[in-house]
Each structure stands twice: as structure tokens, then as C-alpha cells.
């Protein structure tokens, strides 16, 4: 297993590198550069040239890339080509925010959806199952921003219970913090839970037609125990895989929620980075996202191994 983890980490590093190259090429393929975007409508050829010189954008692409790579390896993320702030300062707080958000959502949604998924699997074809499958399906099928805006309308504008934007700050009291986080958390939980519920259910039902389940039935084991003890333990592998991917999404994919609730997180930052052609920023965020993805997948595999005695302790 150590070997497997090591191997995966190696692959992960390769993936990171591939991502950095991809991102670099794609970002450079975009029309306009950071100078044109920062100076915008009031740019003049001279001011553009001056700006590029000032930010070292006049260097050839290759040297820019390897410059970046070198700094990265020496642990320096560089400075924003747009604002001039150091990337680490731009990222640090947002990284924290993103992690907090993802963490809390995970803590709520994972047990919730696994639980509901099991429930649905336990009574297949019953109204519980039907409502859950249909409900989750409906939730996946509606655009995120629709759900989000709808909630804002109800809870913030009409009822006025919760703030419509999640403007978190250090001096906030716990109470205020939770109030301002409530809605984004709610929306994200709904979005990812829907996915995981379906997967959990599917996973369990798939195991249900294996001989050892029939054997359990023939031993007179109760349905509840069959699901929880016999089926579930053999489904952990696939389920954690799905969970991992949803968590990865929580880290990198929640730009819409971040935008709608004006929550300063990484996803939005990356989009901003792209829109201002701020390469070092885009690269840095991309590295974080890819890293998170790699780590989560590895963790999922480890979990799968630990949950499976065949892999855990071979003969």
C-alpha cells in the first residue's frame, strides 16, 4: 500500500506539471494581455509598453514559464501581474475561506447523503426511495445559480432572516459568521448531496445482487443489517471515490456560489485571474486545485483499501 500511495503521488506530480503547461498555453492563447486589461479603455501604445516592461511581460513566453516554474520550486508563487500584490497574500485568506466552506459542507453533506442513500437502498421502490431519487434528480437538473438566487430571495429579501451575501470578516461574532455562511452552505450541501445520495444508492443496489447477500438473506438476517453490515462495507470503495470527487468540486468548482454570495474563495479568484490574464495567479490557483484533486483521489483509494480486507491484509 505504501508503494501504491508513493506511486500515486508520483503520478500526481506529473499531473500537476501537465496542468501547469496546459494552463500556461491556454492562458496565453487568450485575446489581450494583462496590460491591455488593466489599462482598459484608456490604454495607449506607450502606456501598454511601459506596463509590460514594468511587470516583466515583455520577456519571451518560455522564459516566463520557466521563471515561474523555478520560483514555484523554490516555494515562491510570484506576484500578481495585475495588481502587483504577492500571490500568496492574495490566495492565503481565500484558501482558508474555501477550505472552511468545503470542510463544513463535507461534514454536513457526507453523512447526510450516505445516510439518505442507504435509506433509499433499504426500501427500493418504496415512496421513500422514489421521493429521494426523484428529488435528487430534480435538484441536479436545475442550475445552481437558480437554486441560490431563489434562496436569497426567500431567506434574505423576503423573510430577511439571513444576509444575502456572505461577507465574512475577522471581527464578526460567531453568530454573525454562521448567519452569513448559512445560505452558501445550504446551497452547496444541496448540490453535492444530491449527487452523493444517488451514487450511494446505486452502489448499494449493485452489491445487493451478489451471492453473499442472498446467503445473508438465507441466514435470516434482517434487511437493515444486510444493508448496513453486509452491503455497505463492500460499497465503501466506490462511495468514497464519489465523495472525493464532490469534495474536489467543492474546492475548485463553486465559482457560481462564490459569485452570488460574494464569498471570497479560490474558484472566483481563478476566474478573475483568467479574466485579467494574470498568469501567476491562474497558475497558482490551478496548482492548488489540481493538488487538492490528486490528494483527495489518493485518500479515496487509501480509504477503499482500508475498507477492503482483501487489499488490507493479503494472504
Amino acid at each position: 500500500m505504501q508503494r501504491m500511495v508513493f506511486h500515486r503521488i508520483l503520478i500526481g506530480i506529473i499531473t500537476l506539471w501537465v496542468v501547469s503547461v496546459l494552463v500556461f498555453l491556454m492562458t496565453n492563447a487568450l485575446p489581450g494581455d494583462v496590460a491591455q486589461i488593466v489599462l482598459g479603455q484608456s490604454a495607449t501604445p506607450e502606456s501598454l509598453a511601459a506596463y509590460r516592461a514594468e511587470r516583466g511581460l515583455d520577456q519571451p513566453l518560455i522564459s516566463q514559464y520557466f521563471g515561474w516554474l523555478g520560483n514555484l520550486l523554490s516555494g515562491d508563487l510570484g506576484t500578481s501581474k495585475a495588481g502587483g500584490a504577492s500571490i500568496s497574500s492574495l490566495i492565503s485568506e481565500r484558501l482558508y475561506n474555501t477550505m472552511v466552506m468545503a470542510g463544513i459542507v463535507a461534514l454536513i453533506s457526507v453523512p447526510l447523503s450516505v445516510g439518505l442513500g442507504l435509506l433509499a437502498a433499504m426500501f427500493p421502490g418504496t415512496w421513500i426511495d422514489k421521493t429521494l431519487t426523484f428529488g435528487t434528480l430534480a435538484l441536479i437538473s436545475v442550475p445552481e445559480f437558480f437554486i441560490a438566487t431563489f434562496m436569497v430571495l426567500i431567506f434574505a429579501v423576503n423573510l430577511g432572516w439571513l444576509p444575502s451575501v456572505a461577507r465574512v470578516s475577522a471581527e464578526q461574532s460567531y453568530y454573525d459568521w454562521w448567519r452569513s455562511m448559512a445560505m452558501p452552505l445550504l446551497v452547496l450541501t444541496i448540490v453535492v448531496a444530491a449527487q452523493m445520495i444517488r451514487m450511494t444508492r446505486a452502489g448499494i443496489l449493485n452489491v445487493m445482487n451478489s451471492p453473499y447477500i442472498e446467503m445473508a438473506i438465507l441466514k435470516g438476517v434482517r434487511r437493515k443489517r444486510i444493508i448496513l453490515r453486509h452491503a455497505f462495507f463492500n460499497t465503501i470503495g466506490p462511495i468514497v471515490n464519489v465523495i472525493a470527487l464532490n469534495l474536489a468540486y467543492l474546492v475548485s468548482g463553486v465559482v457560481i456560489v462564490e459569485t452570488i454570495f460574494a464569498y471570497p474563495g479560490l474558484a472566483k479568484l481563478m476566474i478573475d485571474g483568467v479574466q485579467t490574464r494574470d498568469l501567476p495567479l491562474v497558475q497558482a490557483t490551478a496548482m492548488i486545485f489540481c493538488g487538492a484533486y490528486v490528494i483527495l483521489i489518493i485518500l479515496a483509494d487509501v480509504a477503499a483499501i482500508l475498507s477492503n480486507p482483501r487489499l488490507r491484509n493479503p494472504k
Binding site: 446467503m215 441466514k219 435470516g220 480486507p309
Partner: protein, 633 residues
């Protein structure tokens, strides 16, 4: 008064899409008295498994009980409340499935699974259950019973799992045991030990049992009463002696006929010289092979060591040995599916590339491989016509009409109706698939066919038919066969020569009549005496034979030095057999035996069986079983 268990006019049916019922079991009735073992016997599809499940008021999804009664202590269990049915499953009636490997939950410890039923039904507390389980492990002669419970299923052998399942069934002391083909998947030697264990505990527990199988010889050993089934109907039933010694119904006769004769000299057909040639068709020279990459000349996991095999033109060579002895690997090496680590393969005297990627199309065409499992060997998404047509097109460039005709010929050749060309494999029976499987190999019109356990997945009748077919084919085509099987009698009835493999080495090799007649290699001896005979009491007698004692007591151990069979050999010589590689002796021309004992010694021991056995002193795993074997003869 009511019998312990009665099945009365039981009917089970499936439904078509339009809802019209398809009867699966058509009004079956039989009883089981307390302490009685009733055997349900029939081919796959005869509904015997479905009936066995009905004894627990259970039927697979899609099936239903339209009528009939299943009475336990006079109470009909089909009409019970679900929770009542549940409370009798695993409690009053317990089930042993065919493949223990599949029916044990890989994620739960053996101990928990064995005791689960008893504890859930509240018949025992966890502690009691554990203690009971350990008793059963002892009774079932399982290795280190006290710790076994903490293991996971994948950590014990197939034979042990099968016995563990018996423990699982017996733990809550059921009134009725249901055993569904519990030994079919096992090697002969393992089968015996499992049978023995079952019989013992059934007697000790005094519980009644329903024993489902297609193998009469096995039934003869365990059953008191036999019920013969065909397509959901009882053809004949009666006490074991009557059925075996005086079958009435033609179908029962057919079953009897299909029982494999115990292997002995002269059972095979006489080989006709018609197709012979001097150059051996295919030859393997001191070949070593295995898996996991090659480290300093040896594979990481060595499966075969210095193998030398010759297959004469249009001869049939039977390769025999227990699972794991490397017989399939031998075939795979010949086919080039697994490149050998050392040694060469020759086809008609020309050296073949180890890897099939480098072999020429002609070479590929000449050697054809027939897989054990027709289900996985035939692409489920191709119709038979294409499966057979492709090699014709590929090797012989046949197209269109030509091709269709040739496909038809092939189907006729394997005795299948021509309409089959439009069917998908899933629409055929096991035997039919196996025929198609062979037809595909023949389509290439090869020189050598490598048949890997082609009959072992089939019911006795079907497999005997397949063997007959092979004989005809060989007579017609003059193709040489490498016939791999763990079943000595099948091999004996078909092969010209036999190669006995043990733990990756050839221990004996020669013409059928030589190999199946004394002097035997001790291992060959073991194999021969393990083949069940259609005779009540055979099991008991065999168990008294000394080669069985240690022979079945211990498992295969792959060793680098000495004779691999050492730890299971009744006549092994301490200090020699386990240290030096056995010399190869040639009692008669072309008949080789690798053993430290001289032929004289061996024959001598064959004559007076009072020799002190090796293996008592050595405390090998399962030493207590050696003790049991030591009962005075």
C-alpha cells in the same frame, strides 16, 4: 404423524413480459425424515437448485410460488409471515451454497459470518456461538480452529471455505440442512475430505439434509434417498441402493451411464496410426515459466519447472493435476499467451517465438486454444455465425456464401443444429456453448488443440457427450490434443498419453495404460483412489487406505528443493525426498516416474500395505488429521 419436512406438489414459475407464466418446477413432492439425507439429482436447469431454495420459502427475484406446500414439522412455510420465514432461515433450515468463495462476504471475518445466524436468532449468545463454532472447526478438521474465526475469507483455501460453510450452516443446530452442489467446484482429493467432513458432522448432528448434485457417484456416498429430477419434474425416486443398483427410468439410466469409470489401464480407445508422423507435433524442452517478471533467470512466481513434454502428431496427451499445479500454464505457454522464462517450444520441429505477438499467422493458426469457461470465451455480443466465421475469414480467407457453408459444416461437425448460427451465446446451454467453443478452434483447422478443462464446468451427461465428440473429431481430423483436466478418469478415457503434474513439476508421464497401471507414482496413486466410485460405502473404504491419510490431510507446498510431493507422500524418505530432487526412472519404454523409491520398492509397497507411514512424527499443519488416518487398517 407429519414427517420432519414435506414438499407437497410444489410449483414454481417465472413470467414472460406479457405475464404468461413459465413453469420452472412442476408439482414436485417428496419428504425428508429426521436424520435422513435426501439427494436431489439432475442436470443444471432441472430446477433442483430452485427447489432447494424453496425449502426456505425463498425464491430468486422473478420467480413465484403459484401453488403447493412446503411443510416443516407439518407447518406450511410458504404461507408464513415474512418475519416468521426469516426466523426459520438459518435457524431451523440452513443452506450451503455451491461456491463458498462467492457466498462468504469478503469484508467480514469468518467468525462473525459463521456465528451470525445463531446470534441473530437468539438461539445462542455470542460467546456460546463462538465456542460452538470452534467445536465445529475441530469436527470439520480445519487448521488452527481457535484463530480461524479472526481470519477473512480470502485468507483460507477453497476446500476450507467449503467446510466453513458447513460450520456456518450447522452452528445454530438446524433441523434441516440444504447442500447445493457443495463439492462440484473442488479437486478430487479436496472433494473427498469435504465429503468426509460433511458426512461426519451430519451424522453427529443427526440433522436431516437435502443434498443437491448432478454427480451420482457423490450421491452414493452421502445419501439415503434419491430424487431424480428433469426439467422441474421428478422422474424417479427411491432408496439409494435401489436407484443405483436397479434404476428404472431411462433418464436415471442415462445419468448412471454418464458416471465416470474409475481410471484403469485399457479404458482409453486404441490409437490408430493413420495420421502419424515422425516429427513430434509440438514439443516443450526444459521449460520454466511463471508470473511477475523474470528475476535472474527465474520468474518471481515460478509455476512450472524444467518441463519436457512431447505431443506426437495426432496424439492426445492428457495433462492432469490438482488446481494450481500449473497445467493451464503449460497450455498457455504452448499457445504463446504466456512467454516462457526458460526453454523452448517447437512446432513440427521449428522453434516458436515465446510471445505470440512475434509468431506468424500460420503458427498461430496451427495451435488453437480452447478455454475452460465457454461463457467467458464466447463474445456475448456476437452471434455464433460470426464467432465461427471470423477465424474462417481470418485464416482461410473465406467470405460470404463459402463462409456460411463452412460455418454450417462446423456446426454439424460439433453436432449442433445449423440454425444456431443466428443465435447469441446466452441462448445456448452450457454444453452447446462448449461445442461452439471447440468449433471455433476447429475453424482454424489447427494441428494442435489445447483444451483447458473443457469438461470440468459441465454436468456429467453433458461432459461425457463432449468427450465422445472429441473422440470423433480426433478420428475425423487427426488433430493432436493437449487435454488438460483435474479429472483422471476423463483423461484416461480419451488420452493416448498422460502427463501428471504436481506443484509445477512432471512427476509421471507415459502412455495411458502404463500410467494407469502399477507401478504408480505415489501421487498418481492418490489421484486414482480419489475418484469416487458409484458404490455405497466407497468413501469409508477409501478413507481407510493409507495414501489417503496424509495425502488428503495436507495441501500442496511449492518447494525449490527435493520432491514437491514430499509432505503428502506416504512413502517419503526423511532426509532424502525433502532435500534432493527425485531421479527420473523409466520402468517401461516412454514411461517416466520421478521418485526416490525404486520401482521395486514401490511395487513392494503396493503389495503389502502394512508399511509404516511417513508423516506421523512430523507435526505438520493439521497433524491431528494424520492421527485420524492412523486408525489400524
Amino acid at each position: 404423524m407429519a414427517e420432519l419436512f414435506e414438499i407437497d406438489n410444489l410449483q414454481i414459475q417465472a413470467r414472460k413480459e406479457d405475464g404468461t407464466p413459465i413453469p420452472i418446477v412442476k408439482g414436485v413432492s417428496f419428504n425428508v425424515k429426521a436424520g435422513q439425507v435426501v439427494a436431489l439429482i439432475g442436470e443444471s436447469g432441472s430446477g433442483k437448485s430452485t427447489i432447494s431454495l424453496a425449502t426456505m420459502a425463498y425464491c430468486r427475484p422473478g420467480l413465484e410460488f403459484p401453488g403447493g406446500e412446503v411443510r416443516l414439522h407439518g407447518k406450511d412455510i410458504l404461507t408464513m409471515e415474512p418475519q416468521d420465514q426469516r426466523s426459520l432461515r438459518g435457524n431451523n433450515v440452513a443452506y450451503l451454497a455451491q461456491s463458498a468463495a462467492a457466498t462468504f462476504n469478503p469484508a467480514i471475518t469468518i467468525g462473525e459470518q459463521v456465528t451470525e445466524a445463531a446470534v441473530l436468532h437468539g438461539t445462542l449468545t455470542q460467546e456460546e456461538a463462538d465456542r460452538r463454532a470452534i467445536q465445529l472447526y475441530h469436527a470439520l478438521e480445519l487448521p488452527d480452529p481457535d484463530l480461524l474465526g479472526r481470519r477473512y475469507p480470502h485468507q483460507v483455501s477453497g476446500g476450507q471455505l467449503q467446510r466453513l460453510m458447513a460450520a456456518m450452516a450447522l452452528v445454530s443446530g438446524p433441523d434441516l440442512l440444504v447442500l447445493d452442489e457443495p463439492t462440484t467446484a473442488l479437486d478430487v482429493t479436496t472433494q473427498i475430505e469435504v465429503l468426509k467432513a460433511f458426512k461426519k458432522v451430519i451424522q453427529e448432528e443427526g440433522s436431516a439434509a437435502i443434498y443437491v448434485t448432478h454427480d451420482l457417484a457423490v450421491v452414493a456416498q452421502v445419501a439415503d434417498h434419491i430424487v431424480v429430477l428433469y426439467s422441474g419434474e421428478i422422474q424417479e425416486q427411491g432408496p439409494v441402493d435401489q436407484i443405483i443398483n436397479n434404476p428404472q427410468h431411462p433418464y436415471t439410466k442415462r445419468l448412471m451411464a454418464a458416471v465416470k469409470p474409475s481410471p484403469k489401464a485399457g479404458m482409453g480407445d486404441v490409437h490408430d496410426e493413420e495420421h502419424d508422423r515422425v516429427v513430434p507435433n509440438i514439443e516443450v524442452k526444459n521449460m520454466t515459466a511463471g508470473y511477475g517478471g523474470i528475476v535472474n533467470g527465474k520468474p518471481v512466481i515460478t509455476v512450472l519447472r524444467d518441463i519436457n513434454v512431447k505431443i506426437k502428431n495426432s496424439h492426445v496427451v492428457g495433462v492432469i493435476g490438482e488446481s494450481g499445479c500449473g497445467k493451464s500454464t503449460l497450455a498457455r505457454v504452448m499457445a504463446g499467451l504466456l512467454p516462457a522464462a526458460k526453454g523452448e517450444v517447437y512446432l513440427d520441429g521449428n522453434r516458436l517465438e515465446p510471445d505470440l505477438k512475434n509468431r506468424s499467422r500460420e503458427e498461430l493458426q496451427k495451435i488453437q486454444f480452447v478455454y475452460q469457461m465457454a461463457d467467458t470465451a464466447l463474445n456475448p455480443r456476437q452471434v455464433i455465425g460470426d464467432i465461427l466465421g471470423r477465424p474462417l475469414e481470418f485464416y482461410r480467407g473465406l467470405k460470404g456464401q463459402e463462409r456460411r457453408e463452412e460455418v454450417a459444416n462446423l456446426l454439424r461437425l460439433v453436432e449442433l443444429p445449423v440454425e444456431f448460427e443466428t443465435r447469441y451465446p446466452s441462448e445456448l446451454s452450457g454444453g452447446q456453448k462448449q461445442r461452439v467453443n471447440m468449433a471455433r478452434a476447429l475453424a482454424a483447422n489447427p494441428e494442435v488443440m489445447l483444451c483447458d478443462e473443457v469438461t470440468s464446468a459441465l454436468d456429467s451427461i453433458v461432459s461425457s457427450n463432449v468427450i465422445k465428440l472429441l473422440k470423433k473429431l480426433r478420428a475425423k481430423t487427426g488433430v493432436s490434443f493437449v487435454f488438460i483436466s483435474h479429472d483422471l478418469s476423463t483423461v484416461g478415457s480419451f488420452a493416448d498419453e498422460i502427463v501428471v503434474l504436481y506443484a509445477g513439476r512432471v512427476v509421471e508421464q507415459g502412455p495411458v495404460d502404463e500410467v494407469l497401471a502399477p507401478p504408480y507414482h505415489p501421487y498418481t496413486r492418490l489421484l486414482i483412489s480419489s475418484v469416487p466410485e458409484l458404490r455405497v460405502g466407497w468413501l469409508e473404504d477409501t478413507m481407510q487406505k493409507r495414501e489417503m491419510a496424509v495425502g488428503i490431510a495436507r495441501g500442496v507446498e511449492i518447494t525449490d528443493t527435493g520432491c514437491p510431493f514430499y509432505n503428502r507422500c506416504p512413502i517419503a524418505i526423511e532426509g532424502t525426498c525433502n532435500t534432493e530432487t527425485a531421479p527420473t526412472r523409466e520402468p517401461s519404454p516412454e514411461h517416466f516416474i520421478s521418485c526416490h523409491r525404486t520401482m521395486e520398492e514401490i511395487e513392494d509397497i503396493e503389495k503389502n500395505p502394512q508399511q509404516i507411514l511417513h508423516g506421523f512424527e512430523v507435526a505438520a499443519p493439521g497433524g491431528d488429521k494424520a492421527a485420524l488416518a492412523a486408525k489400524p487398517v
